[in-house]
Symmetry: C2
Subunit: 355 residues, 2 copies
DNA sequence: TGGTGTCATTGGAACGATCAAGGCGACCCC
DNA sequence: GGGGTCGCCTTGATCGTTCCAATGACACCA
């Protein structure tokens, strides 16, 4: 029956697996060797408890001996699932300290592996973020998506939701209270509050804020943590804040202006990028971060970790985010009980020389 | 080939493409609607020039109307190809300035998309790098691999080669001259030579080297560029070099020792991480990078880009690397003419305040 | 003895695409 | 006019798995 009567016992197994024949073994090969039907082998893999223990053992042995792994394409075709999770990556951000992606991607890959999924990366069209999603969806190449760039209004989310495509967002649906898709996010306000309290505890009173433009939901959220902490100690925030683009140059300018006009002794920034701008200004003026002026950033990027004298920074629990994202995905794709629509995780503070 | 002749006719339709039925349309659906056989539709997609123009148009119209995309699982099963490229990502490196991966991954995704491939990420077992590869290979989940971490002797390469699995390495097979697999690499020696000459041109004569441990092939390669440039101007290198671990702390210590013992006016480093260590030492001593002492790093990481006053750094042409990698992959997988076994690309120098 | 139920296993039929042949006109050429 | 070639399209078979319904074996109980 089987097209290959060879590789009976031979193939003394190499270090890891029996050497791969020109064409890999199939279910039928295993079945023949174990003296059972194909379906039984399939059950041995997918529903082992359906088999009698001795049959299972015999099948297992055949599987090991042949080094069999189910052909994914065939399985995908039959089950209408690819066990792949699609994730769009934007262009690498240069000239910023943006470090979120690297860490998150790795955590996601690691976590989804444990859940039996792989991560498929795809590049998005800069103009129309939809195209990549559409293709993968129509060709049933992925089971679900992880959407990450939900900063200001995210067309993908609405589009995917309208399309009834399974996806989990890293980031709240800020301006879409009616959204029903699962999401995971980090409590940015709690992070900046943590940072501000840290500075307050060290005796700082005049703590300035450098954040993002007002149309950024995330930026406003982070800002609120700072002002909340300040107001909790009856400290004024008027004239102590600046909202700019997320670039080093903007942070540099903003901090120069604030230093002249508001005389702060510390800065809390919406990003490490902006914080690096502050460090530039300090250097320009011969001031030393952590001695004359304290600085705290956001994201705990590599930059924060290696720049002298070390930049204190709010650290997002990206590993936990990944875990929650995968949990939500599993919920979507049927397996375990689905949970609530959103999960909000608290960040921590990585303290270094700059404060 | 391109089943999307739309795009012209509009985002309007592409944006909210024909609503997806519960189960997506199949080849047979399209065939029925166009009044042709399944095979003809298949040809319309894969070999359009086999059809008469008017038939092709009719099929195309049916495809567009139904919003059809071939089911990948079915296609993969039949053609024994997944159009996926596997790439293992190691744990995110914290506390270093290592920035290669982010940029390279993005370039690779972008480039391979143009070639009709997607990138599948997988996490490797830290202990045994093989396991991830083995699984994917046996289940025919990927067509080929891109192997990136070839720093010191790479077991994956030998293993994959023995297994006759198609793969392209980013990095030379340093210690395996007999290796026959395609590879792409950046000429590290040329990079450090560029950096050293840059400093020499600025009048520096006492230029120190901080590199990696001697068992690192890449480290020795980069070092050779520095010593070549020095010797070309009859400058001595004795006592001007230090080989350490690739950490900020090591760079810091090494630069302190070198400053005391060799009195250099400039440092060339094997990595941005080490260069950041130098900046730490300079800060410790109240020295200013770019004014008192020049520093050059390697990799043009985000750190180099944003740290004050800007770290001059050797920049690897990762976009070009990705292009060459994909070219080599296409060669392996049959399509165009295969080229030579290896490609070596020259880096450039990103000049900033530190020099 | 025969009916009934449970359990382990089986054979056939999908899943949706491509491959390998084959059909069938139209055309051409001796 | 027969035979060959070409262009265009169609029909079955097939990739390797899982779903579905059915089978045989066996025990239990009336």
């Amino acid at each position: 029956m089987s097209r290959r009567t060879d590789d009976a016992l031979g193939r003394a197994s190499a270090r890891f697996s029996p050497k791969l024949p020109a064409t890999p073994p199939t279910l039928a090969d295993v079945a023949e060797r174990a003296g059972v039907s194909r379906q039984t082998v399939s059950n041995a893999i997918n529903n082992p408890d359906l088999l009698r223990p001795d049959t299972l053992a015999r099948v297992q042995e055949a599987i090991d001996a042949l080094g069999y792994s189910p052909n994914r394409a065939a399985r995908n075709l039959r089950t209408r699932a690819s066990h792949l999770i699609g994730m769009r990556i934007g262009p690498a951000q240069e000239g910023t300290a943006n470090a979120t992606m690297d860490r998150f991607v790795h955590s996601l890959v690691e976590t989804s592996r444990e859940a039996g999924y792989h991560v498929l990366l795809f590049a998005g069209d800069a103009v129309d973020p939809i195209v990549g999603y559409d293709d993968l969806l129509r060709s049933t190449a992925v089971d679900a998506f992880v959407v990450t760039d939900t900063y200001l209004g995210n067309p993908q989310s609405s589009w995917l939701e309208a399309r009834r495509a399974p996806f989990v967002a890293f980031g709240r649906p800020w301006n879409h209270p009616e959204a029903r898709h699962p999401w995971v996010d980090v409590d940015g306000a709690a992070g900046t509050e943590l940072a501000t309290n840290h500075l307050l505890d060290r005796g700082h009173q005049r703590i300035a804020w450098i954040g993002w433009r007002k149309d950024s939901f995330i930026g406003e959220d982070r800002r609120s943590g700072w002002s909340r902490a300040m107001h909790a100690r009856d400290l004024s925030t008027t004239g102590m804040a600046c909202r700019v683009e997320d670039t080093v140059a903007s942070g540099r300018e903003a901090s120069a202006v604030l230093l002249d006009q508001a005389h702060p002794s510390a800065f809390v920034c919406a990003s490490d990028t902006l914080a690096m701008g502050v460090l530039h200004t300090l250097r320009d003026r011969g001031l030393r971060a952590g001695e004359n002026i304290a600085v705290v950033g956001f994201d705990d990027s590599q930059v924060a970790q290696v720049v002298p004298p070390g930049l204190t920074s709010v650290r997002q629990p990206l590993e936990d985010v990944a875990v929650e994202v995968v949990k939500a995905l599993e919920g979507l794709l049927g397996h375990p009980p689905a949970v609530g629509p959103g999960v909000l995780l608290p960040p921590t503070l990585a303290m270094r020389g700059s404060s």
